[in-house]
């Protein structure tokens, strides 16, 4: 019901747009680029030194997405970005992730420009506004890889095919309220769960923020994500260390809390600045878990379906300090809590671990200009029980063309 209401509200607002806009423009203001649309390319690549084999986070069901973990020298995907105002009422944005034999639509959305009264509607495929890090593309990350809990929950991002409505309150304090309805085919949703009229996933978030003085500013928020996967497939190792294909149907609820604090002397970040960021995630899943018979492979699954419930959490905190122009260094700590997982009848098949995965990462990066960045990162990764790893990453990220500004 709620999702339908939101869709209706969004459409109604989108249709009322022209009322806010005066048809005749006042003057020709400077465009971001003389060409239409703005086109830019993000080039990314890395050298990664890590243990071989597939790495997974102990105690957590994998999302099935493996992004930036290719060993050795690797070209990460190249992003092709198109953006332009469609007309005075709407802006369009497309981000294509290009890799060998594959083009993935990372984002493709329209956004209202002149609804007014603090409302903004976005529709299409977009990065969900939940939390802080989710909306940021890899070239905007402060570290070579994503936070551990973030990759466990969403892979690289939570991508939504749907509609987002945001409202900014007319107050001195920054107060943003947002909600999203989406098809919900991506993890933690599933293809089958998304195969319905209406929406299988919805999200809501509130962000508050402001300045403490000219030198300090902050933003904090709380988000909620509700997904209804059906037969969501995951491969999990059983007690015999044999891969078992499971599928989960039920509800998946995720709570996120995020807080970012930025400091720059007199608000002038060009010489020195510091950013502290932390996010907390709590996921609660309940439903039925089926486990495909793998006894022929020596596994323990007998094809039984029974109730499944889990409550797992994790957080990270990081600080990034620019100590002189072009140079930054940062430290990040990730910690996950395997929490409680109950497979009921399948408890004999899968282990309920109390292992808490952790990871320390330290990085230094150099940006000769705002269009290029080179980074060296070391991580002590203890996310996989009995297989701790020391990981080195050397990475570049370059942008060609009019590159849009980044969010706070």
């Amino acid at each position: 019901m709620f999702d339908r209401l939101l869709i209706a509200t969004g459409i109604a607002l989108a249709l009322s747009t022209p009322l806010q806009i005066q048809a005749a423009p006042q003057d020709n203001t400077t465009a971001l680029n003389a060409f239409n649309p703005e086109v830019s390319l993000i080039l990314q690549g890395a050298y990664l030194d890590r243990l071989g084999g597939e790495r997974h986070v102990t105690g957590f069901v994998p999302t099935g997405e493996h992004g930036h973990d290719v060993r050795g020298l690797a070209l990460n995907h190249t992003e092709l970005v198109f953006a332009a105002n469609v007309d005075p009422y709407t802006r369009g944005f497309v981000n294509l992730a290009v890799a060998d034999e594959a083009v993935e639509i990372e984002e493709s959305w329209f956004q209202s420009l002149g609804l007014g009264h603090g409302f903004t509607v976005r529709g299409g495929r977009f990065l969900s506004g939940i939390g802080y890090q989710n909306e940021r593309h890899p070239h905007q990350w402060d570290f070579a890889n994503n936070g551990l809990m973030h990759s466990v929950l969403f892979g690289e991002h939570l991508v939504q095919d749907g509609l987002q409505l945001r409202w900014l309150a007319p107050t001195e304090l920054f107060m943003e309220f947002g909600s999203e309805v989406a098809k919900g085919q991506f993890f933690p949703g599933s293809e089958l769960g998304a195969d319905k009229s209406g929406a299988a996933t919805w999200a809501a978030f509130v962000h508050l923020g402001g300045d403490v003085s000219t030198s300090h500013s902050w933003r904090g928020g709380i988000s909620y994500l509700h997904a209804e996967p059906a037969q969501r497939a995951s491969i999990v190792d059983d007690f015999n260390d044999i891969e078992a294909l499971t599928d989960f149907s039920g509800t998946s609820k995720t709570w996120l809390a995020d807080f970012v604090w930025k400091w720059a002397p007199n608000g002038n970040s060009s010489q020195r600045n510091f950013t502290f960021l932390t996010e907390y995630f709590l996921r609660d899943e309940a439903g039925d878990l089926a486990c495909d018979d793998n006894t022929l492979d020596g596994g323990l699954c007998t094809g039984l379906t029974d109730r499944y419930s889990s409550e797992q959490s994790g957080w990270y905190a990081q600080g990034v300090y620019q100590f002189m122009p072009a140079w930054r260094t940062g430290l990040r700590y990730d910690r996950l809590d395997s929490g409680s997982v109950n497979f009921n009848a399948n408890n004999a098949v899968f282990e309920q671990t109390n292992y808490d995965p952790t990871r320390w990462s330290v990085m230094t990066d150099y940006s000769p200009s705002e269009f290029s960045r080179f980074r060296l990162q070391f991580a002590r990764d203890q996310s996989m029980r009995d297989e701790p790893d020391n990981q080195w990453t050397l990475q570049y990220s370059l942008s060609i063309g009019p590159h849009g500004s980044h969010k706070f």
Partner: protein, 300 residues
């Protein structure tokens, strides 16, 4: 939960403010806040997104600014790509239809000023060049006069009930400003032809107006931090072509200009650059007064 959210949404839509008192003006830089103050007085509530201690190229569309842009009736910026790193985001994310490009609630000063240093070729290898020319246009007082004319018209347009008062205040401002320009040009006659080194190309308009001769920049390319190698090369240049002083703004690091100035035995001069850049520069008039005073002291 759902009921609460829907009810909340409904209340918000109904509770939109309908009437307001003073015009809510947000400016990108302090000079436009000062100019609005001259033209609108207490008819407007003015605040600036940046201070004189911040580099107008590089700030973020942070939450506090979004909250301000959300409530602005008029957004006044320099344009000419000066704020390209943050202004488009501020406009798009504020949920305020009035301040979008092309709307009457968005005013771009560069549209009404004389722009110099338009590049003939565009290549990022040239550093942070602006396709539409040098955006630091407020340091030519004739530009201020032109922008004031256009801004007064715009204020009258979006606040028609007070239209006459804006016309009146602008007329008064133009008279005072023209008199001040006459005075400054007289005071600064001795500065004509004085050779200077500048930290960044943000002194081009001032140099152009006063006839200062810019020998070189501390930045090897616009927007690129001064490097040791470049400063050393600059010392060589200054041997054959000596300069009187090195100019920097309050928001730039004093280190490079002080380093160079002490080695070649000239003055490193910090100028306010905009309103608030020194304790003396409290409005547009005192900004120019203080700038000229500092220049003349160092030129002697």
């Amino acid at each position: 939960m759902k009921l609460f959210l829907s009810a909340f949404l409904a209340v918000l839509v109904l509770a939109m403010p309908t009437a307001q008192a003073a015009l809510n003006v947000l400016t990108c830089e302090p000079e436009w806040a000062a100019l609005t103050q001259e033209l609108a007085g207490d008819l407007a509530k003015v605040s600036s997104a940046t201070t004189a201690l911040q580099d107008p190229h590089h700030i973020e569309a942070r939450p506090a600014l979004l909250a301000k842009a959300r409530r602005a009736d008029l957004l006044i910026c320099t344009g000419a790509e000066l704020e390209i790193g943050w202004l488009p985001l501020l406009q798009r994310e504020a949920g305020n239809g009035n301040i979008q490009p092309g709307q009457s609630g968005y005013f771009e000063a560069a549209r009404f000023a004389r722009i110099i240093e338009r590049p003939t070729t565009l290549d990022r290898a040239q550093g942070d060049v602006h396709a539409t020319g040098n955006p630091h246009l407020h340091l030519d007082p004739h530009n201020i006069a032109q922008v004031a004319e256009a801004l007064a018209k715009r204020l009258a347009e979006i606040d028609p009930s007070n239209a006459e008062r804006y016309v009146e205040r602008n007329r008064d401002f133009q008279v005072r400003w023209a008199a001040a320009i006459g005075r400054w040009e007289e005071q600064a006659a001795g500065l004509k032809g004085v050779p200077v080194v500048v930290h960044h190309k943000n002194w081009s308009y001032l140099a152009d107006w006063l006839g200062l001769v810019v020998i070189s920049d501390l930045e090897p390319k616009p927007g690129v931090e001064p490097s040791a190698a470049h400063l050393a090369a600059l010392m060589g240049t200054l041997k054959s072509k000596p300069a009187k002083m090195v100019l920097r703004s309050a928001y730039q690091s004093p280190k490079p200009s002080q380093w160079l100035a002490s080695r070649v035995g000239i003055a490193a001069v910090e100028l306010p650059y905009t309103v608030g850049g020194s304790t003396q520069a409290t409005d547009l008039f005192s900004l120019y007064d203080d700038t000229l005073r500092r220049l003349k002291e160092s030129a002697q």
